[in-house]
Amino acid sequence: MTHGTSKNAVAIVGIGEIPPVRRSNQTIVAMAVAAAKESLDDAGLRGSDVDGIITEASNMPHDVPADQVATALGMTNRRLTLHANVAGAGIVGAPLLAAEAIRSGAAEVVLSYYALDWGSAAGGPYAFHAGDPMKSGFEMPFGWYGQPVYFAAMAQRYKHEFGLTAEQTGAVALAARAHARNTPGAMKREPLDLAEYVANRMIADPLRQLDCCLLNDGGVAFVMTSMERARDLRQIPVEILGGMVASESITQSAYFTQKRDYLATPAVLSGPPAMKMAGITHEDVDFAEIYDCFTISTILQLEDLGFCNKGEGGAFFEDGRTGPGGSFPVNTHGGLLSHSYLLAGNHVTEAVRQLRGDRGDGQVPGAEVGLVTGLGVPDHTTLVLGRSK
């Protein structure tokens, strides 16, 4: 396995992150611009150095117009602007599109950003589902509303088919919290033990509050360029080794109620080709930042990526290997469960920090290859990043 030796290697060269808070008094555009500016400063680049913007398509186009970000940053040479894929799959997939754009010559330096104001916006994270007539007409009147309900039914079916205990879902939450305790800027850093988890209030059985991702405002950004250019910049380049964005053939409307393979995620479609493109096996992965909107979805994706068989994910977390110092660290910043809910844009920045060797007490020793996933139904991205030599 080689890094950075391909003439066509592309790297992440700068990252930015606005400290996530429950409610910000900044606008979503201001947060995106601030994160983007930080990523440019991190790279040692100016706005005029950046000629491309690539980000996700579901929230960003209306909430954070690319023209506003570009103009605010002084992007006088903007050429390429693309929005692609849904939510987490879109922002985690952006580096993959950026790599293709840079390799083809469509752009030389590409900026991605993601900002969120669901901590302070009316209706919160549930509201965008309410805008779907299929959901507002055929689901909400029955009380099938709120992402925790969608995932709770998934967990209940999983429990029926494979067994799922509070100790197992608790293990996912506890490992995330243990990592967050080693992460400056993580929103939830108080210690958490199993007794507290079990006593935590039930939201939608079997999911407790601690099984659900956080709610907050914030922003992240990253900048990509060719490995050749990257070597002249400020940071250790983190190579985009490979990845895949895949979509299940079902509508977003119907995904949570109608999908045939109810206990799989579209990670089954993105994972294998991503690892093949990167030229890695499961044993090569030193850590994984998994889109942990809920403890159950974390378990399902680990299974779908092939780190264990379907039905074994609960035990995989229960044996402690995913926590700090474990043999397979997962969500080394605390994830969406304990770090912040930034749709895994924060999982990309965390993976970059790990691969730069910048994580201090939270460093995975010898981290060379990291995997990041992003979910935005029916899309899913698996992204493979590597420390450059």
């Binding site: 209706g123 549930y126 309410a130 007539p133 299929m134 507002s136 007409g137 055929f138 689901e139 909400m140 009147p141 029955f142 009380g143 099938w144 509303y145 709120g146 925790p148 309900v149 709770a152 039914a153 998934m154 209940q156 079916r157 029926h160 509070a166 079990v198 006593a199 209030r201 039930m202 939201i203 939608a204 059985d205 999911l207 407790r208 509508t251 409307s253 119907a254 109620t257 109608q258 045939r260 109810y262």
Partner: protein, 153 residues
């Protein structure tokens, strides 16, 4: 481990009350049939497919048209959750906890119907429980509700 949470079971009173939002002809049609006491679902004119949720073309045979057919009134509980938090917007109200689930209707392969579920007093719902339709009045409006058939699965 048992917790205080597990002692809270939904009751017959725990049915959400929410006027279905108007604005989509397809959803408006579903609720118009329900108001008339009929549980109808869209079935493809070109094949056996239940068009759920309806799209401009049948995903199996490509036929645009479908018919609102009287749907099966029995089925199995595919999954469910006992919900302890009210996520509904102000236009909806519900007594917590309530029980909502996915029903696989008999002879309607390939689709699942979201429905409120009621269990006989003292009976815990379980996946694969047989269920049957009970058209119920909530705040003066018909609501299709699926009741777990006594004795369970």
């Amino acid at each position: 481990m048992s917790t205080p949470n597990e002692a809270m079971m939904p009751t017959m009173r725990s049915l959400p009350s929410m006027t279905p939002p108007a604005g989509s002809p397809i959803t408006d049609q579903f609720w118009a049939f329900v108001a008339d006491g009929e549980f109808r679902l869209p079935k493809c004119d070109g094949c056996d497919n239940w068009r759920w949720y309806p799209l401009p073309l049948c995903e199996r045979c490509g036929t645009p048209d479908f018919e609102w057919v009287l749907a099966p009134t029995t089925g199995k509980l595919f999954s469910y959750s006992i919900v302890h938090h009210n996520f509904l917007p102000p236009s909806g109200s519900v007594t917590l906890p309530y029980l909502v689930g996915l029903v696989e209707l008999d002879d309607a392969v390939g689709m699942r119907f979201v429905a409120d579920i009621v269990a006989p007093e003292g009976q815990t719902p379980r996946v694969d429980d047989p269920v049957h339709l009970v058209m119920t009045i909530v705040d003066g409006r018909n609501l299709p509700v699926f009741a777990i058939t006594s004795g369970g699965s």
